[in-house]
Subunit: 233 residues, 2 copies
DNA sequence: GTCTATACAACGATAGAC
DNA sequence: GTCTATCGTTGTATAGAC
């Protein structure tokens, strides 16, 4: 598992999932030719993420989006019925890619320590490759409407639950001892999020994804070891 | 140092600083009577933070702000010349309060371990009492214009430098060993920010500020201890 | 299938009555 | 010192030409 393989996997998944979105929404998308639609969806998503991450989704006007995507007003509205649906589309696409790629990575690992490594590194690599989407998703969540907002919170709690589960398992198998798995899981999430929220900072300091991953893992390990030591006194 | 004393200190500072803002801006603020101006500034800030944190500063219309603050359009424009200046005013006020309160707390502590405790807890308590401002400041930073944006980044790096300094000192005084103080400082910041960015989560789980503070401190300590252990091998 | 032109609503900001 | 009325601009969304 390295960054390059993630890039490839995400690139393939992105096209696949745009195709799936096109098919599942063929009733509302006015374009009928698949290759055209998929190409334009990719363009729209890329342009939206760029602009929305600069000035915010709300502040990004559809005129801005026309210019950035190289499409026209009418052209855009062939893919969604209003601006909010564009947001839904982007969330749908991102979530689908994340689920697919992470599912592939985490399948069939039993050892808790190994699972912890894998989960942390996978999240980190994925958020590195899909940084614009992760950033967007984090920053815009509070503006989402009811349903989309619930989905975002559910996503946050779900990945947290994955970490908590691994830590719990780690306690059982005695590799490391952690009295408050959920709290540590929350901390792991916070550290992983910091990576894609403040990319500028880590880039400026020449810290690589790999190095940051090592750091997060050693942090969690040290905490587990410290708690063991205390407990064994 | 407990939460209650922070509340009092912040309440006093807020009024003080609104008074100072009024005085320093008496040329641009059209209101001349201090008591009226200070009362209205406090109202405007509170209303702005509430609305901006719900829907975003850009999406918050000044008509919304009229309703929330109980003032009129013309009334608002007596305190700032445009919407952007309102943002500047809020940032100025928040930064001033933070600098004053934290300055009071951290003055004259020499021991590194004690300073680490104090710095973490102070930040945490302050962000608890001033949560709306911290949240606002974090979430809106990316929309700030040149000067205000630089100030925000400088603020982030400055508090990080404080933590890094304490950790460095900790190495020197041999209390704990940390090979990468700046990285650990960044992690501390991320954990402290998570507290005010995801308040809903920690509240839902009945985790108190004190408990979270203990957790962050023990995390850093454990990491320091782990590195010492390795180094001594 | 894509573009231009336009309708209509909401915004920030100001001028002048009270 | 505060309010109401109104201006010009900019936004989303659509209808109809090509």
């Amino acid at each position: 598992m390295d960054l390059k393989s993630f890039e490839k996997q995400v690139a393939v998944s992105t096209a696949d999932i745009c195709r799936e979105i096109f098919e599942s929404r063929s009733h509302s998308i006015k374009i009928k030719k698949e290759p055209v639609a998929v190409r334009n969806l990719v363009r729209i998503f890329k342009a939206t993420l760029k602009l929305a991450n600069q000035k915010g989704f709300h502040a990004m006007s559809l005129r801005d989006l026309c210019a950035e995507s190289g499409m026209s007003m009418g052209g855009l509205y062939a893919y969604f019925k209003n601006k909010e649906e564009l947001l839904t589309l982007i969330q749908e696409q991102g979530r689908a890619i994340v689920a697919r790629v992470l599912g592939d990575q985490l399948a069939g690992i039993d050892d808790a320590a190994q699972a912890l490594d894998m989960a942390i590194r996978s999240h980190l690599y994925l958020s590195e490759v899909l940084q614009p989407w992760f950033f967007f998703s984090y920053m815009e969540t509070r503006f989402f409407h009811a349903e989309e907002g619930k989905r975002a919170i559910a996503g946050e709690l779900q990945t947290e639950a994955i970490f908590a589960g691994i830590l719990q398992k780690g306690i059982a198998s005695a590799g490391f001892a952690i009295p408050d798995p959920l709290l540590v899981a929350a901390a792991i999430k916070a550290l992983l999020q910091d990576w894609y929220l403040k990319r500028w900072k880590y880039r400026r300091r020449n810290i690589s994804v790999e190095a940051y991953g090592d750091f997060v893992i050693s942090m969690v390990r040290a905490y587990g070891a410290g708690q063991t030591a205390k407990g064994e006194k």
